[in-house]
Amino acid sequence: MNKATQWKITITLVVVALSLWFLYPSFQWYTKSAEEKQKLQQIEDPVIEKILKLGLDLQGGMRLRLEVELDKIPEDMEANEAMNRALEIIRNRVDQFGVSEPLIAKQGLNWIIVQLPGVSDAGRALDLIGKTALLEFKLVSDQTIGEDEEAPEGYEILQGRESGKKYLVKKEAELTGAALDNAEVKVGGNFNRPRISFTMKNDSAEKFKNITELNVNRRLAIVLDDIVQSAPNIKERIPNGQGIIEGNFTMETAKDLAIVLRAGALPAPVKIIEKRVVGPKLGRDSINSGIKAMTIGLIFILLFMIAYYKKSGIIAVVALLLNIIILFGAMAYFHFTLTLPGIAGIILIIGMAVDANVLIFDRIMEEIEKGKTPRVAIDAGYKKATTTILDANITTLIAAMFLFQFGTGPVKGFAVTLFIGILASMFTAIIVAKTIFDMITSERQIKELSI
């Protein structure tokens, strides 16, 4: 065995060993039960960082694109500042909602991407994230106004949460949600219903004391996103900055409102401009059908290669299996996400990867037909096929590259598996398969090649 072959064996073994090493955590992870996974997630076990992640289309979950309405931010705030603030607040809300491994990122000028794996109750999550949650305390006017009358200077008309009810309130808020120190759900009141009890920060509590003192016997409206939740009468001054928001809450909506109040208001309303929700059932079905298609495809190819190329076909099969291991290993190492189109990419690669071997084997056959010995034919076949393989595969790599550049979400996953798969197929065909041929032909003289 010459030096070059020894080198190739070493490289092959290293690449395969590394791939298996990178895959081992994923293998461990996906064979665990749901409870064990949850436990590890709670303690934020480092293994989670190392596993091959599944896209939202496979594990179920929600992906949102939000547009921050920058024309509605406060005048003294810059666009960039508003975006960062919005990002921070949404992150706070999501954290309190309790989603494992969410992704929240700014995109472009005024977009925010939110990915919530495993969340299937889209309505609730949307409420939580999309709500501006601007809490304001506004004094209610003593005046009453008629149906079509306009609000007087400095005042505005707001809807109540009961339909049809209207309030005339001072335009300028006495205090906003920024004054809150804490908010939590308490059950109480006349009907023993969930409501939100809040505590203000020290300086705001002082301010609140003054306001209530000056306005005894007037009503103070508690306004959330321009809807009056309640407008209790101020009976006496309130010294400790504590209060209660009543509303038509269920336990869950009250809990979510407490979350958004604690996390703070968004600097401007956000609009949902893209929403993709995949339920857990479809995700599971997709994985199952993907695995099924992959297995069937693989078996077809393996049988065909062995039937057509005989013993040399076995070499191609080994190359193909290593190709798949390397592909998954690289995906895990580079932290790529496996999506449904990504699985399709792998299936496609199984069919396309043998092309490099087909090119080589056909060349070897031609050389043998010219009367060359197996040893010489293999070398000549490889030499002639290598440039063709490079030339032909580079165009697919170009297509995959631009798909990755311009693709979004799941399609990116396809581009990734296609790209890595093609690279791996060149490696396994040109290096690995050649090494096996060399090992076989260097040990003993082979008169006839099984091809």
Binding site: D57, R65, E67, A122, K271, I272, I273, E274, K275, R276, V277, G279, K281, L282, S289, K292, A293, M294, G297, F300, I301, F304, M305, Y308, K310, L340, P341, I343, A344, I347, L348, G351, M352, D355, V358, L359, D362, E369, K384, T387, T388, D391, A392, T395, T396, L397, I398, A399, A400, M401, F402, L403, Q405, F406, T408, P410, V411, F414, A415, L418
Partner: protein
């Protein structure tokens, strides 16, 4: 086992027939695309998609009636091989389609419970961006491929001929998709772009052989060299297309509803790509070089 070895079929001699055939098919594909407008998915138009599974197979006509009477206009309803599963697409941009569909069905179709498998809502701004990105991906990939092929083969005609063959494949595949009324969404575009790469791949293998034979058989006329090259690479062309088709068929049959459009696009495209790399790409080079 050996097949398609030591054969010599006169592919180039049949070029007038295959050219007329291809021109007719390409022209019809363009006509179909213009008359039978592509059904752009909501990825590009904006709108809503609701993928749902009913307890028992629903009656599509009844669903349509319910939607129409509930003010959900222009809903496209797609059936699947699993008859309980239905996909509803509404190309209107508003956020409440899902709620409206849910309310309408729970009011008017009480005896058939349903589960939402997947739901998408895409605003017009995002649709516009995705459209722009898809077009950019296509244009950049095309030019990159032309430049690469022209550079590797030291002459513009190889690149141009390869791209003409590629366009031929993409146009015909797209035409057939439109003829079948398939919805063109992001995965379908991804499949078309993959096809572009695949089609060129096949062509390059033949070109590589022509280039090699031009050196080793320089005394032979070009006609003979090209024919010989196509014949020599024929078994590889068929085997690779065959193995790729095998996996794509597996994907089409077993890969689930979500990827149907994607795998169908590849299925059609690979067949046409194989045809064009034998009958279109190399004869084009001959036509050009022979003129000079």
């Amino acid at each position: 086992m050996r097949f398609l070895r030591n054969i010599s079929i006169d592919f180039l001699g049949k070029k007038s027939i295959t050219y007329i055939f291809s021109v007719i098919v390409v022209v019809s594909s363009i006509v179909v695309t213009f008359t039978n407008k592509p059904r752009w998915g909501i990825d590009f138009t904006g709108g809503s998609l609701i993928h749902m599974e009913f307890k028992t197979p629903p009656d599509i006509a009844q669903l349509r009636k319910i939607f129409n009477s509930s003010g959900i206009e222009g809903a496209q309803i797609q059936k699947f091989t699993n008859e309980k599963v239905v996909m509803v697409r509404v190309r209107k941009d508003y956020e409440n389609t899902l709620d409206e569909v849910k309310t309408a069905l729970s009011e008017k179709l009480k005896n058939n419970k349903f589960e939402i498998l997947r739901n998408e809502m895409i605003g017009p701004a995002v649709g516009g961006m995705l459209r722009e990105k898809a077009i950019k991906a296509f244009i950049f990939a095309f030019f990159a491929i032309i430049i690469y092929v022209a550079w590797r083969f030291k002459g513009g005609i190889w690149g141009i001929a390869a791209v003409v063959a590629l366009l031929h494949d993409v146009i015909i595949t797209f035409g057939i998709l439109n003829f079948l009324g398939l919805t063109v969404n992001l995965p379908v575009i991804a499949a078309l772009l993959t096809l572009a790469g695949y089609s060129i791949n096949d062509t390059i293998v033949v070109y590589d052989r022509i280039r090699e034979n031009l050196k080793t058989h320089f005394k032979d006329p070009l006609f003979k060299i090209i024919n010989r090259s196509i014949n020599e690479t024929l078994s590889r062309t068929i085997i690779t297309s065959g193995t790729t088709l095998m996996v794509v068929i597996a994907l089409f049959l077993k890969g689930g509803e979500v990827l149907h459009g994607f795998s169908l696009t590849l299925l059609i495209g690979i067949i046409i790509g194989t045809y064009s790399s034998i009958f279109i790409a190399s004869p084009l080079v001959y036509l050009w070089k022979n003129k000079k």
